[in-house]
């Protein structure tokens, strides 16, 4: 340490090192090895699911060989299912539906959740009371059973399945959004915006919502994983669109044969596991990067 370095350093204003929050978040995220590997894994899974069918055009519904051929037999890398259909083709083709349902259902529940949370956190009073009662209602409703009922009564189409998942998964987002709104609406900059004549719509969408986004984004990321697990559960119970291959459906189809031919369930389950795992890693990474309080942990 040179003699005068202390003088220069100590008198330097600390604000000189502040960077844009998005850049800081990106830097935090990029420094998180677990989150990056999650991102890489998810990228591969998405690419394989989207582009795979072109590279591996075997029809997942076509019976290509004898049922339950073990992995590797006759060039079928992962073997065949109970009808003799290529398991690898099923997994590659099934990714699309699984990911699509997962994302769409998550989007739906984030939309419902933000609407409920924002309105009840902003307006308080009877609006909050009513909306929170509805939220509570969906909290006590056994989610999977309710979705099963919906799908069973109204038909197992992809759209219905997506709706059945989205309609039961939004309470977490609503609670988080409401808590953020309750916290932020009391802050000075909101009061300042209010006193300078901002309309309620303006306050909700341009002032409070952007500032409450970080925990909502994290929750949204985790919801995709949740929805994928949920879809798999429904399919496993036989509540899947019979015309569409998905990872859950593969497991549901082969469910009666688990003891003798476990691989038919192990591989699609592994695909789901890795997908949800990578999403969780990304969610955790986002959480650390977006939450300044945890940065020094």
């Amino acid at each position: 340490m040179t003699d005068y370095s202390i003088q220069e350093r100590s008198l330097q204003p600390t604000s000189a090192r502040v960077e844009h929050p998005l850049i800081e978040t990106a830097r935090m995220f990029a420094g998180n090895r677990a989150a990056l590997s999650g991102l890489a894994m998810l990228f591969i899974i998405v690419v394989v699911s989207l582009a795979g069918p072109w590279f591996y055009p075997t029809d997942p519904f076509e019976m290509v060989w004898s049922p339950f051929s073990p992995p590797g037999a006759k060039g079928f890398l992962l073997g065949t299912d109970y009808l003799g259909r290529d398991l690898l083709a099923q997994i590659i083709h099934g990714g699309r539906a699984t990911l699509a349902v997962g994302c769409a259902a998550a989007l739906l529940s984030v939309f419902i959740g933000i609407t409920f949370g924002a309105l009840s956190g902003f307006y308080r009073g009877w609006i909050e009371e009513t909306l929170m009662r509805i939220t509570e209602f969906f909290q006590v409703l056994p989610t999977l059973l309710f979705s099963m009922v919906l799908v069973a009564l109204f038909g197992a189409s992809l759209g219905m399945i997506t709706f059945a998942i989205g309609i039961v998964s939004w309470t977490g987002v609503a609670r988080i959004t409401r808590a953020e709104f309750l916290k932020i609406r009391e802050l000075e900059y909101v009061t300042a915006a209010r006193s300078s004549g901002a309309s309620n719509t303006n306050l909700i969408f341009r002032v409070i919502l952007p500032n409450s986004l970080p925990p909502i984004i994290v929750q949204a990321a985790l919801l995709i994983g949740f929805a994928i697990l949920f879809e798999a559960g429904l399919s496993f119970l036989g509540l899947s669109d019979a015309n569409v291959m998905s990872w859950g459906a593969i497991m549901g189809n082969n469910r009666p044969y688990i003891l003798l031919h476990g691989f038919t369930i192990m591989y699609p389950g592994l695909a789901i596991f890795l997908t949800v795992l990578s999403i969780s890693l990304i969610g955790d990474g986002l959480n650390d990067a977006l939450n300044p309080k945890l940065r020094n942990r």
Binding site: L145, M148, A179, F273, L277
Partner: protein
């Protein structure tokens, strides 16, 4: 007195929620394509229109909707959830027969996962960079990401098929007649795998939560005060810190009850556990609407009661008059 008043208020809210579930049930029953007459007609291989009209009249389906709803409420209040034509039994009888098995599964899974989760979380929090801490991190990721039915199947393949330590399914060994203690042991033996499977998700959840909340509490001023009083490490951690660290765990335990019931449906299916979940899946395959909706109502009842209990536990642990719900803000 305040305790009693709040408990009563919560009970009222719980009843309201159950009433809402009933309204939902009723609406679903009427929105769903096909009614009782159709079901009977299907069973009988087709009936003529006159007989169908008579059946509808017998079941009150010709009454105005609101009258039908009131009648439905009245019936449910008398524990009459309708009749299952598939099982040829009243739905309530069916459900009460299966309910104990499900309760055994979800309560044991909840208790075990809270215990194991909290212990793991506390151990991990004591050494934030230690092995236990990393273990909890990995466990919580894996436990969350693995589909619960898949975990169950893998456990069956491992511990029932490859290393036959546990039975592959069912609740009792029907080949041997057992009574009393031997029966209980047999049930517990059958319970281990499904319970662990169901608990795996929630152990992951609670250990992570307990770790974070314990870390928080261990850094708090009152823990430093406890240390400055010269209390033993044990007292500091288990008396002063743990009780506070448990609060978020209790809150979450209440919130995840409906998730546990959902998980139980899948786990019961995997292990052929003779509970409400298995019944629900069979009823869905058989399109037995009264049974499905009856199960939906009963499991909501279980969740509401569990939430009430959780809320009371919370208020016992935390003297600040708050309910589990508002404490999150």
């Amino acid at each position: 007195m305040q305790f009693l008043a709040i408990t009563l208020k919560r009970c009222g809210l719980g009843l309201g929620l159950l009433l809402a579930v009933l309204v939902l049930n009723f609406l679903l029953m009427h929105l769903a394509p096909g009614d009782v007459a159709d079901t009977i007609a299907q069973d009988a291989g087709g009936l003529d229109a006159e007989v169908m009209a008579q059946i509808r009249k017998d079941y009150g389906l010709d009454l105005p909707l609101w009258e039908q709803m009131l009648k439905y409420f009245y019936n449910v209040a008398q524990l009459d959830l309708g009749y299952s034509f598939y099982y040829n039994q009243p739905v309530t009888t069916l459900i009460l027969e299966k309910l104990p098995a499900t309760l055994l599964l979800i309560i044991s899974a909840q208790v075990v996962s809270i215990l194991v989760g909290v212990v793991l979380g506390v151990i991990a929090a004591r050494k934030p960079n230690g092995i236990a801490s990393h273990f909890v991190t990995i466990l919580s990721l894996v436990g969350y990401a693995a589909p619960v039915f898949w975990t169950g199947i893998m456990l069956i393949i491992l511990f029932a098929s490859m290393i036959p330590l546990f039975p592959i399914g069912n609740m009792v060994d029907v080949s041997v007649e057992r009574t009393g203690f031997a029966y209980m042991i047999d049930v517990l033996h059958h319970l281990v795998l499904p319970m662990l499977t169901l608990a795996s998700i929630f152990i992951a959840l609670y250990s992570r939560l307990a770790r974070a909340s314990m870390l928080d509490v261990l850094g708090s001023d009152y823990v430093r005060t406890a240390q400055a009083k010269g209390l033993s490490e044990f007292q500091v951690v288990f008396k002063h810190a743990l009780r506070n660290a448990l609060l978020p765990v209790v809150t979450t335990a209440g919130l995840v009850f409906s998730g546990i019931v959902s998980g139980a449906v899948l786990v019961e299916t995997v292990f052929s556990w003779p509970g409400l979940g298995t019944l629900a899946v069979q009823a869905i395959v058989a399109r037995d609407t009264p049974t499905i909706l009856g199960i939906l109502f009963f499991s909501s009842l279980v969740v509401v009661v569990a939430n009430l209990l959780t809320d009371m536990v919370y208020r016992i642990i935390d003297p600040r008059i708050k309910t589990a719900e508002t404490s999150e803000i």
